[in-house]
Structures are given as structure tokens and as C-alpha cells.
């Protein structure tokens, strides 16, 4: 430790400032550069916006996941929560445009409730969050399929899909949603006492309890925020994805991978909003790149597995 610090003390200050920047921004630039080199079409405004629009659900989800990760847990239920919400809304609305806002409100409510249940199970029943949220995944997946009779039924009106599909002055609405959501999350995480307590709970729950932090309450709030992000992601996703029983598949692990890429440390205590949004974008761009290079889709799982293991091994090594 001391060797490094004396070494870096002699380095020019400009390099030090460079080191203060999160590495994910360089990774993002490198991936986007590789993408543009492989297919110059991504330099155009239209495809670029399309890419951003398609990655917006993941960006929102990753920020929600960040809250849970900072608090020291995981939320593996978000993917099936998205599928559940899309199936239920399609069933409920069945193309009726008037009820769309009611349906979006319902999504938010269900998302918050599901998150609250996860949080309650983890903090009061002391079930490890991976197991609790995997159980919730089964419940939501089974529940969605049960209510829709095993296949996707009904359809979503354009009013419901507007958030994820429309543009204002050529600028996707979904990106505005991401910016607003990201800004609110940043304020909560970095500028409120709740945010500080979240970091405390994640880095040392015992110390947090002893210093009077309501650990259970903070944990539950983090899971509720993740549920909320899943609800928003579901409406954004419905803008370009069809109503299907696999709409949200894999999103839970993508959200975790994105958060990890953005420098969030699994099992708690570290991570910040904007690098995580960049991480989500980088992951989506990486998947696009793999696609351009002709890798089959399941290779994405391999990449994510490697990202998760390497990131955790790296942060374990630094400790």
C-alpha cells in the first residue's frame, strides 16, 4: 500500500486526475469505438438513438439494482417482475388506450410491493437475498403464466407504450425517463442521509445497527427502489418489445453485470449512479458488438458470467 502511494506521489498530477475517473468510461468509449469501426452506421443519429432507446430499460434497472447491491444484497427477481407486469398489463388493458395511465400506476404499485416483500423476507426472515429473490422469481414467473393461462394474451395500447416508443423533437422519451430517474437516484444516493445510511448498511450492517441505523427499513427501501425500477423498465421495454412470456428474461443478471461493470462492489458498500448507467450502456453496446461479430446469442451468458466472477475476484484481491 505504502509503495503504491509513494509511487503515485511522484507521478504527474494530470495522470492522477485521470485515475480518479471511473474505468468504465474508458471501457464504454473502447466498446463504442469498436462498434463504430465494425459497422459505421452507428455514427448516424438514428441508429445511435435507437441503441440508446433499447438500452434504456437496462439503464433504469441497473440503477435500481445498484441500490440493492450497495445495501449488500442482490435482486434476482426483477427480470420475472418485468415479464409479470407486461403480461398482466396486456391482459388487463387488451388494447384499451384509456386505462394506460392507470396500468402504469398499477405497475409501479406492484413493483414497490414485490420489492417490499423481498426486503421483508431478507431483513426479518434472514433469508439470503439470492435465495429469497430467486424464490420470488419463481412466484412471479408462475403467477404471470397462471393468470395469462400459459401464453401471452391481450395486447398493449400505444398510450402504454408511449414512454418507450415516442420521441420529442427527435429525442427518445425513454432517454428523458432515464435522465430523470438517474438524477433522482443520484440525489437520493449521494445527497441524502438515507443514501449515506445505505452505504453504511452495505459496508458493515453490525456497525450500522449499533450506530442507530434502521437496517431493516433501509434494506426494504432499497428493494422497493429496485422493484420501482423494474416497473419503469417494464413500461420502457414494452415500447419496442412484444407481449411475450419471456419479455424480461435475463434482465436480472444483466442489471447485476451492468452495476458491477460500473464499479459497484458486490456484497455492499460501494458504487455510484452515473458509472452504473455507463456500465449498462457498455453492456448493451458489448452485446450489440458480439452480435455484429456474429457470436450466437447465448454467448452473452458466458460474457456476463466472466464479468461477474472477474469483478468480484478483483475486488476481493484488493481487500
Amino acid at each position: 500500500m505504502s509503495i503504491i502511494s509513494t509511487k503515485s506521489g511522484t507521478l504527474p498530477k494530470r495522470f492522477l486526475r485521470l485515475r480518479a475517473i471511473e474505468p468504465i468510461y474508458f471501457i464504454l468509449i473502447a466498446i463504442v469505438a469498436a462498434m463504430v469501426l465494425s459497422n459505421p452506421i452507428y455514427l448516424d443519429y438514428g441508429p445511435m438513438m435507437q441503441l440508446l432507446r433499447r438500452s434504456s430499460p437496462l439503464m433504469v434497472l441497473a440503477v435500481g439494482q445498484l441500490f440493492v447491491i450497495v445495501s449488500g444484497g442482490f435482486d434476482l427477481a426483477v427480470g420475472s417482475l418485468i415479464t409479470f407486469l407486461i403480461l398482466i398489463c396486456a391482459l388487463l388493458l387488451n388494447g384499451n388506450p384509456e386505462l394506460a395511465y392507470f396500468a402504469i400506476a398499477l405497475c409501479v404499485l406492484v413493483g414497490l410491493m414485490s420489492g417490499a416483500v423481498n426486503g421483508l423476507i431478507v431483513s426479518f426472515w434472514k433469508v439470503p437475498s439470492i435465495i429469497a429473490t430467486l424464490g420470488m422469481l419463481l412466484i412471479l414467473r408462475g403467477g404471470g403464466l397462471y393468470m395469462s393461462g400459459g401464453s401471452a394474451r391481450g395486447n398493449l395500447p400505444d398510450t402504454f407504450r408511449a414512454l418507450g416508443r415516442d420521441s420529442v423533437f427527435g429525442f427518445p422519451v425513454s432517454l428523458i425517463v432515464v435522465i430523470v430517474f438517474g438524477a433522482v437516484a443520484w440525489l437520493i444516493l449521494h445527497r441524502t442521509s438515507f443514501g449515506r445510511q445505505l452505504y453504511m448498511v452495505g459496508s458493515n450492517p453490525r456497525a450500522a445497527t449499533l450506530s442507530g441505523v434502521n437496517v431493516a427499513g433501509i434494506r426494504i427501501a432499497a428493494f422497493m427502489f429496485s422493484g420501482l425500477s423494474a416497473a419503469i423498465a417494464a413500461t420502457l421495454l414494452s415500447g419496442f418489445s412484444g407481449v411475450s412470456t419471456s419479455a424480461g428474461d435475463g434482465y436480472e443478471l444483466q442489471a447485476i453485470s451492468a452495476a458491477v461493470l460500473g464499479g459497484a462492489v458486490l456484497l455492499g458498500g460501494r458504487g455510484s449512479v452515473f458509472p452504473v448507467i455507463a456500465g449498462a450502456l457498455a453492456l448493451h453496446a458489448l452485446f450489440t458488438l458480439l452480435n455484429i461479430w456474429g457470436f450466437p446469442k447465448p454467448m452473452r451468458d458466458v460474457v456476463q458470467g466472466l464479468i461477474i466472477i472477474c469483478a468480484v475476484a478483483y475486488s476481493a484481491r484488493r481487500k
Partner: protein, 331 residues
């Protein structure tokens, strides 16, 4: 210790043996008894019978094999979430290598078992040498296996020969062969845990890793070996599953929720997720309880999707019943 037991009178000895039976076994017996009237009224297939029990046992064998492996890793305070994908891998490779040819059985089985053990060793290296949290490490290796498997196979691949299906459908002494398989596995695993030095080391490492290390136990090696056993038994479960199904597909493992169910079974059997406590008989009881609930749902004709909801709730509740008393904060 053992000589003490021998010197006591026969009645005390019996009581000792009875006390060794995990309490969860009595719960299982009670559930079986209570379900008799329930099934008599609502069942679609003629109520409680020997056929019901034997069917339940047979269906539980795959889960039992994985769960015994899971017991080893949970005992040392680790866990293996990659088992479901190892099962898929083993099942697909078995039917792909055999292609209906009986002469390939002798090639495929050892190869696949070795592969499973190797995956377990990789998990063990990640957990011990690289200090990756076991839940995350095995989630990651599981993802990698799933990706590779889905890239290479999109559907049922090949088939196993009829001779190989005897493993699942053959009969011995008028009883289904898998029941003997199960009994042999449980006896062997229980022998390893209770009677060997390695078994004692497992409990010691799980109980207090630092103390075990100071007492001269090579903790890294013990944890690594536990993971290798879990991988090996997951592969064995896949080999058994494919003899039931006749052919393997990439989704057979995840569809059976073997990762979560095996953990739930071990925990229901009285093991601590933190390690150091648990045993094969408890795990067996846990497996039978889950299998019993599953058979019960089938007999009552519950919708398969609703069944999935109930399974999720049961797994959470089952783990919660045991973890709720822990005063430690969990992640």
C-alpha cells in the same frame, strides 16, 4: 466416544440411535399420515397407496443426488448454485455421446463424472484461492456453462440406449432400481461424513474455519474437495435424469429448479447455511418432503403454473423457518 456408546445398555443405545434421527423425519411421517385422508377425498388417482410412495421416491432420486452433493458444500459454509446447469450439461453430453449406442455407456459415464468434478474444482478454486463469494462464483460458472451449452445445443441431442434406461426403469427384487441407488448413495455419503477423517474435517471447517486451520486442517483442500464432490454428484444427477428422460436438452436442469430445491432440501434437513451443521439423513428427509409436496400437488391436479408459485413460496418459507432464528445480518 464410540466405546462409550457400546458400553451402555441396549435400551439406552436404542434411544441414542433414535435421537440421531433428525426431527424432520418425524415431520415427514406426520405429513404422510395426514395426507391419507386428504388424498382419499380429493385425489384424482385413487388416494394414498404404495404406488404413490414408490413414485414419490423415484421422482425424488435426481434431487436427492444433487442435494447430497449440496450437503457437502453447505457443511463447509459454501454453496453451489451451478448444479442445475451441470445437470443439464451432463444430461445433454450423455445422450449426445451415447447416440443410442450401448457400447458408449462405459465411455460417457466416467467422462461426464470427471467433467462434473472438474467444474466443482473450478468452483472450489474461485472460492478458496480467489476469495470470491461462493454464491456469486457459482452463479457465474453456472452462467458460463449455460451459455456454452445453449450455444452448442438448441434441442434434445441424441438419445441414450435402452440398456441405459434400466438405471431409471429397471426393477430389482420387485422394487424400482433407483431406490437401491438412493439407499447406496445415502449410506456411502453418511459413512464419509460420520466415520472418516475427511468428514470430521468438513464439520470442523464449517464450524470455524480459522480454528480448523490453526488445528492443522488444510481448509483450502477440504473446501475444494467438497466442491468437487458437489460437482461430481450434480453430474451424476444429470446422468440419472437422462436415463429417465431418454434424451437430454439444455433446459432440463434449470426447469427442475435443482439449484434452489437442493439448497432448500439441505436447509430443511437441519443444516446451517453458515456451515458446520447438517447431515445426509436430514437432507434425505428434506428431499422427501419436497418430493412429497410435489407428488401431492400432482395428485390433487393443481395447475402447473400455480405449482411453480407454491414451490417458490415453499422454498422461501423452508429456508426462512431455519434462518429466522439467526441473529446475524445476511446479505
Amino acid at each position: 466416544m464410540h466405546s462409550l456408546i457400546v458400553n451402555l445398555g441396549p435400551r439406552v443405545r436404542w434411544r441414542r440411535i433414535l435421537r440421531r434421527v433428525p426431527p424432520i423425519f418425524w415431520a415427514l411421517m406426520l405429513m404422510l399420515l395426514l395426507s391419507v385422508p386428504l388424498l382419499a377425498v380429493y385425489s384424482r388417482a385413487g388416494g394414498m397407496s404404495w404406488a404413490f410412495i414408490s413414485n414419490m421416491l423415484e421422482r425424488s432420486v435426481t434431487l436427492a443426488i444433487v442435494a447430497v452433493g449440496q450437503t457437502f458444500v453447505i457443511l463447509v459454509g459454501s454453496v453451489d448454485l451451478s448444479v442445475a446447469f451441470v445437470i443439464s450439461l451432463a444430461a445433454v453430453l450423455a445422450s449426445f455421446i451415447m447416440q443410442g449406442d450401448p457400447s458408449m455407456i462405459a465411455v460417457a459415464v466416467p467422462l461426464i463424472l470427471l467433467g462434473g468434478a472438474l467444474i466443482g474444482v473450478v468452483n472450489g478454486v474461485l472460492v478458496t484461492r480467489l476469495n470470491v463469494n461462493p454464491l456469486i462464483a457459482t452463479l457465474g460458472t453456472g452462467l458460463i456453462i449455460q451459455g456454452v451449452l445453449n450455444t452448442s445445443f438448441q434441442n434434445f441431442a441424441g438419445s441414450v440406449p435402452r440398456e441405459y434406461q434400466q438405471l431409471a426403469y429397471g426393477r430389482l427384487l420387485g422394487l424400482p432400481a433407483p431406490i437401491f441407488l438412493l439407499a447406496a448413495l445415502v449410506a456411502l455419503a453418511s459413512f464419509v461424513l460420520v466415520r472418516t477423517r475427511f468428514g470430521a474435517h468438513l464439520y470442523a471447517v464449517g464450524g470455524n474455519k480459522e480454528a480448523a486451520r490453526l488445528a492443522g486442517i488444510r481448509t483450502t483442500r477440504v473446501i475444494m474437495l467438497a466442491h468437487a464432490i458437489a460437482g461430481l454428484l450434480a453430474a451424476a444427477a444429470g446422468l440419472f435424469l437422462v436415463s429417465r428422460l431418454g434424451s437430454g436438452a439444455p433446459w432440463v436442469g434449470p426447469d427442475g429448479i435443482y439449484d434452489l430445491e437442493s439448497i432448500a432440501a439441505v436447509v430443511v434437513g437441519g443444516a446451517l447455511l453458515a456451515g458446520g451443521r447438517g447431515g445426509v439423513f436430514g437432507t434425505l428427509a428434506g428431499v422427501l418432503i419436497l418430493g412429497f409436496i410435489d407428488s401431492l400437488f400432482n395428485q390433487l391436479g393443481i395447475d402447473p403454473y400455480l405449482k411453480q408459485v407454491l414451490r417458490g413460496a415453499i422454498i422461501i418459507a423452508a429456508v426462512a423457518v431455519y434462518s429466522i432464528r439467526s441473529r446475524e445480518e445476511v446479505a
